[in-house]
Amino acid sequence: LLGRAGALVAVLSLSVPSALIAVALASLYGGYGQQTMILTITRWLLAATIGIIVASAWALVRPTLSRRRWFRSLVIVTGTFIFNTVLSVSPFKILLAAAVVGFFWLEDKER
């Protein structure tokens, strides 16, 4: 509606109020984070967040599995997991390597 200024306002209005709430929660956690109840609540929230992370990762992978490029996707996701978890390669290096792989290994339908 208002061009770049409108986009700037949209980004800030989305982020700033949420950030204030996040800071308030983090501050409360800093003050009361050692209490058993807070610890327990945080653990359960973390468990729920793990579920959300799984869903997020799956949402990224799923569209690529529905086509002929599933093998390429499987190799990249599995390779990333192994290199990061087992071989402790830094995520940044892995992302760079993935970009190189993507540059040379095109999807089947685009060959």
């Binding site: 996040a22 956690y29 992978v61 830094s90 095109l106």
Partner: protein, 272 residues
């Protein structure tokens, strides 16, 4: 913590991710493993609290900034969070033209897939902390559970972890010092939960893996430091566990022939 460095670290993580929590692996690598500016517990709390607050999924970056450097850190986190969005607005027209190119599309998709793989691998430390701490918490706060069962459960958890890490139990003897793997194994989950420095935990594992006759005396000192740190962090619900650990350390210290090590490192802890 230098705020500019913090900003660049967080910006690097946000800029290389393609979903809200996609930056988590990079954040963990830079903030905990490489620089130790926050610990696992704080990252877990930031992620959990970030999901409670309304707004973008990557909001936990603000919490990470807060735990690293207080309110200025939170502001830096917010700036790092919005910077890529603002930049994308400026280069959107350029990206729209280039994104149709097959190679560019392929590169972007490969990076997105790698981001998903990194997300899967980021789940492991989060889940491990959650499960271990839940067990310990339930056991520690229950008055009806005998202390020995707490230690027993710790040992089970530790053994399971060691098996995953291909850790081979070894009994190292140096003069009359017997350093039992099980003693450290019993402490290990507590270290996992209570130790602010992730590197400390790895140091102990490394020490155990490469333990030999010369390095064995180092182990009691490490253990004393770990338990000493635990003392500052343990709240009332964990006092039972802490006192048990003190007993274990005292028992171990009695076996040490070297009075200097015992006096300086272990008994100092016991006296507070």
């Amino acid at each position: 913590m230098n705020l500019i460095v913090l900003y660049l670290l967080l910006l690097k993580a946000v800029a290389t991710s393609f979903s809200g929590l996609g930056s988590l692996p990079v954040i963990r690598q830079d903030s905990i493993v490489n620089r130790q500016i926050i610990n696992d517990r704080q990252l877990n709390a930031a992620v959990a609290l970030g999901r409670v607050a309304p707004g973008p999924a990557g909001l936990y970056i603000v919490g990470v900034g807060y735990f690293a450097a207080g309110v200025p850190g939170a502001i830096v986190g917010l700036l790092a969070l919005v910077t890529p969005s603002l930049l994308v607005i400026l280069i959107l027209r350029y990206l729209r033209q280039k994104a149709k190119h097959p190679r560019v599309k392929s590169v972007l998709q490969a990076v997105v897939l790698a981001g998903a793989g990194l997300l899967f691998s980021a789940i492991i430390p989060l889940g491990e902390a959650s499960i271990n701490s839940l067990w310990l918490l339930l056991l520690a706060v229950s008055d009806r559970v005998e202390g020995q069962r707490v230690i027993s459960r710790c040992r089970q958890l530790a053994n399971r972890h060691h098996q995953r890490k291909n850790f081979a139990h070894r009994q190292v003897e140096d003069r009359n010092i017997a350093v039992g793997g099980n003693l450290v194994a019993a402490l290990f989950p507590v270290v996992f939960e209570g130790e602010p420095e992730f590197g400390q935990r790895l140091l102990i594992l490394k020490e155990l893996r490469f333990a030999d006759a010369e390095r064995a005396p180092e182990l009691p000192r490490l253990l004393a430091r770990v338990v000493g740190n635990l003392q500052h962090q343990a709240d009332q619900s964990l006092r039972t566990l802490q006192s048990l650990l003190t007993l274990v350390c005292r028992h171990h210290a009695d076996k040490l022939p070297d009075d200097e090590i015992r006096e300086k490192n272990i008994l100092n802890y016991q006296s507070g």
